[in-house]
């Protein structure tokens, strides 16, 4: 399953148009756990050692092709500092998916991730798909959070879980893909349910981004 880097909805093999679903996804987690780096890896295939800190939030999109559906993610990447926490509802309200990120070399960030999960369970859409990402898996030598511990927590709470590395790209596409697979691709157009995808008509399918990138 390849990521469609151009952002176009058209399938390259000229197969008949598939349906296009658009989902809002938000990234949450402690400062400097690698939220922006995960997005940068997923959207542009790049990694910056000194990714600048996010003020407020950043917005990016990426399209994934599943077998019969094209999924377009609208990604809101939020600031990690606690002070910005009160702005978070702006970004996660109406989101169909969330990735809560922690740093496997820092136990505190895992505790913080649990708090984010709790908040999403209370405040976000009840049908939101939540994934937990233990990032910086390339630094396994400095590991402070055990894989099994996080897996058990994810299982208890019905979360998708993967350890990822934005640096080596390990599991980055996979976690987005797992989310895409889990999201309901409802048929209803402009559906009323908060958890439903927005189905785009073929004519309205996202155009390939020809500028501003």
């Amino acid at each position: 399953m390849a990521t469609n880097r151009s952002g176009a909805a058209q399938r390259p093999n000229g197969a008949p148009q598939t349906k296009v679903c658009q989902f809002k996804l938000v990234l949450l987690g402690e400062s400097a756990v690698g939220k922006s780096s995960l997005v940068l890896r997923f959207v542009k295939g790049q990694f910056h050692e000194y990714q600048e800190s996010t003020i407020g939030a950043a917005f990016l999109t990426q399209t994934l092709c599943l077998d019969d559906t094209t999924v377009k993610f609208e990604i809101w990447d939020t600031a990690g500092q606690e002070r910005y926490h009160s702005l978070a509802p702006m970004y996660y309200r109406g989101a169909q998916a969330a990735i809560v990120v922690y740093d496997i070399t820092n136990q505190d960030t895992f505790g913080r991730a649990k708090n984010w999960v709790k908040e999403l369970q209370r405040q976000a859409s009840p049908s939101i798909v939540i994934a937990l990402a233990g990032n910086k898996s390339d630094l396994a030598a400095k590991r402070m959070v055990e894989f099994e511990e996080a897996q058990a927590y994810a299982d208890e709470n019905g979360l998708l879980f993967m350890e990822t590395s934005a640096k080596t790209a390990m599991n980055v596409n996979d976690i987005f893909l797992a989310i895409a697979n889990k999201l309901p691709k409802s048929e209803s157009v402009g559906g009323g349910a908060a958890g439903g995808a927005r189905r785009l008509n073929d004519a309205d399918a996202p155009r390939s981004s020809s500028c501003c990138k």
Binding site: Y50, A79, R83, S86, G94, G190, G192, N201, P206, S209
Partner: protein, 452 residues
């Protein structure tokens, strides 16, 4: 871990981080992780402001521009000699709008901010705050992680633990003690980073202090818990859009694009990394002269100049990208043209009595005495996060949610009123139906909207 162990751990961490900055780059040979210190290759090129670009610079400053700036420098040097004179006061406005010569920014910015006055009134204060920070600051970890990624493409900050990185770290740590209500908030590293491109460490500290607490700039209200000034200025920004560019406002609303989503850095760091650096400096020149209404007018000017282009973009990511990324890389207008328009915008807004959203209420100003030491509580010492939101945060949170829901409601009304004329197009636009979910802490009574 028990509390004592946690406390010990926090204080060890602080000491370890401080030590590295004190030793500095030259004494840390072999101890800087490779990821902290990316290698820059020879073909990188530095521009006149110290930013290193990936590619050879194509636009060299035109020779006639250099000549003009040299001529201006002479006038400015003369003016600096009689700063308090009536003649200077008369010329200052016009000259600053033309742009301060880059070589003199270091002096003029200090003059405009009255750095020397506050510095001489507070002898030894900076060193005292820095010393306190070393023992007590609870923001060190966040500051460290932000210094490590602020302006890394600039020659001053490209090397880990370089002199300017150390200064940036020190200024922010000292300030976190000086203003105990704000401490350190992400965004401030951008402000201090720019100031340090032109000033030494102590001057930059006092310049930062003035930007936050002087009523002319009052950035305290932007960074303090709950961001009260941000909310107030965004409402004002919306008001301006509704009055002068209703179609554009509608265009944003159609895509659920709240101003907070595209303009946060305009307000927080005065356009740093949102417009090209040369233009950003011109706006800073004027901001330091005329204060906070410049930000309101510049926000308006950016949208006015790019209205046509933005109206053609029919996707939220295209719009956000255009405003946040494209305009930073290439603004599409000469700096002089933008500044000319900024000045016209200020006049236009003034005529409409929309140039200024009013003086800051007390909640946006420092309540505690600045520079007074308050021992942090145990929780913050350990670095533990608060379990619950404070009242201020709850309020901020509710405001944010209401803003979003009101926009969604407005859009729904719009759909209803336009349903005869607009075909399926609006159907795909997101407005998460505000009433489909009940939120525990926010209800949608109409009187609540009035505080928005």
């Amino acid at each position: 871990m028990n509390e004592e162990a946690l406390l010990a751990r926090a204080s060890e961490e602080r000491e370890r981080i401080f030590q590295r900055y004190e030793r500095g780059r030259d004494n840390l040979a072999g101890q800087i992780d490779p990821w902290e210190d990316p290698e820059f290759e020879d073909y990188h090129k530095t521009d006149r402001y110290g930013f290193i670009h990936d590619e050879r610079l194509t636009q060299k400053t035109a020779p006639q521009k250099v000549n003009v700036e040299v001529e201006r420098e002479k006038k400015w040097v003369k003016m600096l000699g009689s700063w308090e004179s009536a003649a200077t006061k008369e010329k200052l406005h016009r000259r600053i709008y033309k742009g301060i010569p880059n070589s003199l920014r270091i002096k003029i910015w200090c003059k405009l901010l009255n750095v020397n006055t506050i510095k001489s009134e507070n002898p030894g204060k900076y060193q005292e705050m820095l010393k306190l920070a070393k023992q007590w600051s609870t923001d060190v970890r966040q500051i460290d992680s932000d210094v490590n990624r602020q302006f890394r493409e600039h020659q001053f900050y490209r090397e880990r633990y370089s002199e300017k990185q150390c200064s940036l770290f020190n200024v922010l740590c000292a300030y976190s003690m000086y203003n105990s209500e704000v401490g350190y908030c992400q965004g401030m590293s951008g402000l201090a980073g720019v100031l340090l491109m032109y000033m030494d460490e102590e001057d930059a500290f006092w310049a930062l202090a003035i930007l936050l607490s002087d009523k002319k700039y009052a950035m305290h209200g932007l960074y303090v818990e709950g961001f009260p000034k941000l909310t107030r200025f965004l409402e004002h920004h919306d008001k301006i859009l509704t009055k002068f560019m209703p179609k554009l406002k509608l265009h944003f609303d159609k895509f659920g694009l709240d101003a907070i989503l595209y303009s946060l850095k305009w307000f927080f760091v005065c356009f740093v990394e949102r417009v090209p650096f040369s233009l950003c400096l011109r706006v800073w020149d004027i901001y330091l002269l005329d204060g906070e209404r410049v930000i309101t007018a510049m926000a308006y000017t950016i949208l006015k100049l790019h209205k046509k282009a933005i109206m053609k973009l029919n996707d939220m990511d295209l719009i956000v990208n255009y405003i946040q990324v494209k305009l930073h890389k290439d603004f599409g207008f000469e700096d002089d043209v933008v500044i000319y328009n900024l000045e016209r915008s200020m006049e236009e807004l003034k005529r409409a009595k929309l140039d200024y959203p009013g003086p800051p209420p007390p909640s946006e100003l420092p309540q505690r005495q600045l520079g007074m030491f308050i021992e942090p509580d145990k929780k913050s010492k350990i670095g533990q996060r608060a379990e619950n939101f404070s009242e201020t945060e709850k309020q901020a949170r509710a405001t944010v949610i209401l803003r979003r829901e009101k926009a969604a409601l407005d859009l729904q009304e719009l759909r209803v009123s336009q349903s005869d004329t607009v075909s399926g197009n609006l159907e795909i636009l997101e407005a998460s139906p505000p009433t489909s979910r009940t939120s525990s802490d926010v209800s949608l009574s109409s009187d609540q909207f009035t505080h928005l």
